[in-house]
């Protein structure tokens, strides 16, 4: 009797469930795409709207098919999968389009002359961005030299020492600084140096100061997060060896967080390297190579791009070509910085792998 009951129950319970074959799914996807792209134009829709039609069709047809065959849970899963994929493509599309456009127009002047000459005496064809590349690297480098110590030390204070009023007000100030419009940073730097050197002051260091105003909060924030990730056990292990707090921070906490800190700093650099507005105000623009941060105007790639596009010269094609090439150069520099950050994270990471 009991065995009978048992087998009856067992025969009812099945672990299998019907599912749409992958081939069927692909057929549905292809069908929706074809229908959208064929019917769309017939309805007088343009290409974009036809794609939208195809996606909407897919959003309806595939979940309905899944609902019939596979049940409600799998149908919901398919619906959400489509929605998420569409959202992802929408987010990625502008980026790819931007990259493609910059490469397409910028590659034309991606020649040795562009990298090894400046704009002195150039009105039409030729010319290069050497002075702007040097200016960008110098000013961003100087900004990093200013911001990294200040940022790292502020973060160390906030994570390791800061308690109460002072720490929370610094945190609020850092948050506010994150939101400063870049033009305000430029105006700040200009106003500051104008007090000492008069209103006609234009020089690279001013640009670096403006950039560091933008960079410091980013560095503080990212380093803060990295320091918080260092397990407390390591600090305690160090204290228990009779190591002072400062030495614990310098020799245990900071090295453990080094990979993340390096990545954070690189991203902060990447964040400010494309700034135009503050440099327009305080660093000005020039056509010559200027190696001196402390004197005279200094060009930068974003400013160079801006002027090459707004005042392209006669005939305008050459200026516009140079603008695209400069934008592409900036792209490449930022990309290289990002790769560097990943590489450094991996290099430090191998020593710290836990």
């Amino acid at each position: 009797m009991s065995t009978e009951l048992h087998t009856a129950a067992a025969s009812k319970v099945t672990l299998k469930r019907p599912s749409l074959r992958p081939r069927v799914v692909w057929v549905i996807v292809a069908g929706c795409a074809a229908t959208g792209l064929v019917v769309g134009p017939l309805l007088g829709l343009n290409r974009t709207m036809s794609v939208v039609l195809a996606v909407v069709l897919l959003l309806v047809v595939l979940p309905l098919a899944a609902l019939r065959v596979e049940g409600a849970r799998r149908a919901t899963d398919r619906l959400v999968t489509i929605v998420v994929s569409v959202a992802f493509s929408l987010a990625l599309l502008p980026l790819l389009s931007l990259l493609w456009t910059t490469v397409k127009y910028g590659v034309g002047r991606f020649d040795p002359e562009f990298f090894f000459s400046d704009m002195r005496g150039v009105l039409g064809e030729g010319g290069g961005a050497l002075h702007a590349i040097i200016g960008t690297l110098l000013m961003t480098g100087a900004a990093a030299v200013i911001s990294v110590p200040i940022g790292v030390m502020s973060a160390v204070y906030l994570v390791e020492y800061g308690r109460g009023r002072l720490a929370s007000s610094i945190t609020i100030l850092v948050d506010v600084m994150t939101g400063i419009p870049s033009i305000v940073a430029g105006l700040f730097s200009f106003a500051f140096f104008a007090v000492f050197f008069g209103p006609s002051i234009r020089f690279g260091l001013g640009g670096a100061v403006a950039l560091s105003v933008l960079m410091i909060p980013v560095v503080v924030r990212s380093v803060e997060e990295m320091l918080k990730l260092v397990p407390n056990e390591l600090r305690e292990a160090s204290y228990a060896l009779g190591v002072t707090k400062w030495r614990t921070i310098a020799r245990v906490v900071l090295p453990t967080a080094a990979a993340g800190i390096a990545a954070g700093i690189t991203l902060a650099v990447a964040r400010v390297i494309g700034e135009t507005a503050p440099l327009l105000i305080i660093a000005g623009s020039t056509t010559n190579v200027n190696w001196n941060l402390f004197e005279d105007r200094m060009a930068a790639l974003p400013v160079y791009t801006y002027y090459s596009y707004t005042i392209p010269g006669i005939p305008p094609e050459f200026g516009i070509e140079r603008a695209w090439a400069a934008a592409l150069t900036l792209f490449v520099i930022v990309m290289a910085l990002n790769l560097l950050a990943r590489l450094s994270a991996r290099l430090f990471g191998s020593a710290t792998s836990r």
Binding site: L234, A237, R251, S353
Partner: protein, 263 residues
């Protein structure tokens, strides 16, 4: 072996606070030199808090403070002019979870106490110290060929012995162990217990453990902590020679805990 002079510790009327919360109340205890003292008791009764207050690690937590006296060989550890950093150099600590420094090699981990304190030491002397400490921790034979590899590459039991080597490389006089075997398998646990028996010759050892057999195996004295209820402070209920505690405890609660009837 590392040459040290073990010290006695005399604790009287010790109250331990987290902010306004009294976590451990009124502990009075004498710990003899060259002895192993086991502290047992249910979770949350303040054993770890108590042991951390013995090398002034408790105050690392914001708001944490201590009232009462902890006297080591005539010196009050909580005296006005006492530097907690110096206290910790005398009283080493091994934690529940092995925590070797991830950025350092095995060698550097053992040398960390010397290097991080910026003590000047000749390479030869340092090599010697590292070898001595690793031998004392019964780890030398397992790692002597890979001293430059990261300490995090070792097994859990080896890592814990590395942490013990690191602690004794500072040449402390007292060694505190906060559940040193709770994250380890039985074989590693046995290795650590053997090690404790050897270290007893040179150090005064205080060990917190949840493992009753372990307390019975390794310790000379056993202290039982208990807590009256949630939010109540932990107290030292009873302390005696380990044989007495496990065969003939005076307190009902101790007997109940040891025989496994609660906790």
């Amino acid at each position: 072996m590392v040459s040290t002079v073990a010290k006695n510790i005399d604790i009287s009327d010790l109250d331990i606070y987290y902010g306004d919360f009294l976590a451990v109340e009124d502990v009075t205890m004498y710990i003899a030199p060259f002895s192993v003292t086991a502290l047992i008791g249910p979770s949350g009764c303040g054993k770890s808090t108590f042991i951390r207050s013995l090398n002034r690690m408790h105050e690392v937590i914001p708001g944490a403070r201590v009232e009462g006296k902890v006297v080591m060989d005539g010196q009050d550890l909580y005296g006005a002019d006492v530097d907690p950093v110096n206290v910790r150099r005398q009283i080493g600590m091994v934690f529940q979870r092995p925590n070797p420094f991830p950025t350092m090699s095995i060698y550097e981990n053992v040398a960390a106490g010397v290097r991080l304190n910026a003590k000047r030491m000749k390479k030869v002397e340092l090599d010697e110290l590292v070898e001595r400490s690793l031998r004392a921790a019964n780890l030398w034979n397992e790692v002597k060929d890979r001293l430059d590899r990261p300490g995090s590459g070792l097994s859990g039991g080896q890592q814990q012995r590395l942490c013990i080597a690191r602690a004794i490389a500072v040449e402390p006089q007292v060694l505190l162990m906060d559940e040193p075997c709770s994250a380890l398998d039985p074989i590693s646990t046995l290795a650590i217990e053997d090690l404790i028996a050897e270290l007893k010759a040179n150090y005064t050892i205080i060990i917190v453990t949840h493992n009753m057999q372990q307390a019975a195996r390794v310790s000379d004295e056993t202290g039982f902590f208990n807590i009256a209820g949630v939010g109540e402070p932990g107290r030292l209920i009873e302390m005696d020679r380990t044989e007495v505690m496990f065969s003939n405890p005076k307190d009902k609660a101790t007997e109940g805990y040891i025989t496994g009837r609660f906790g």
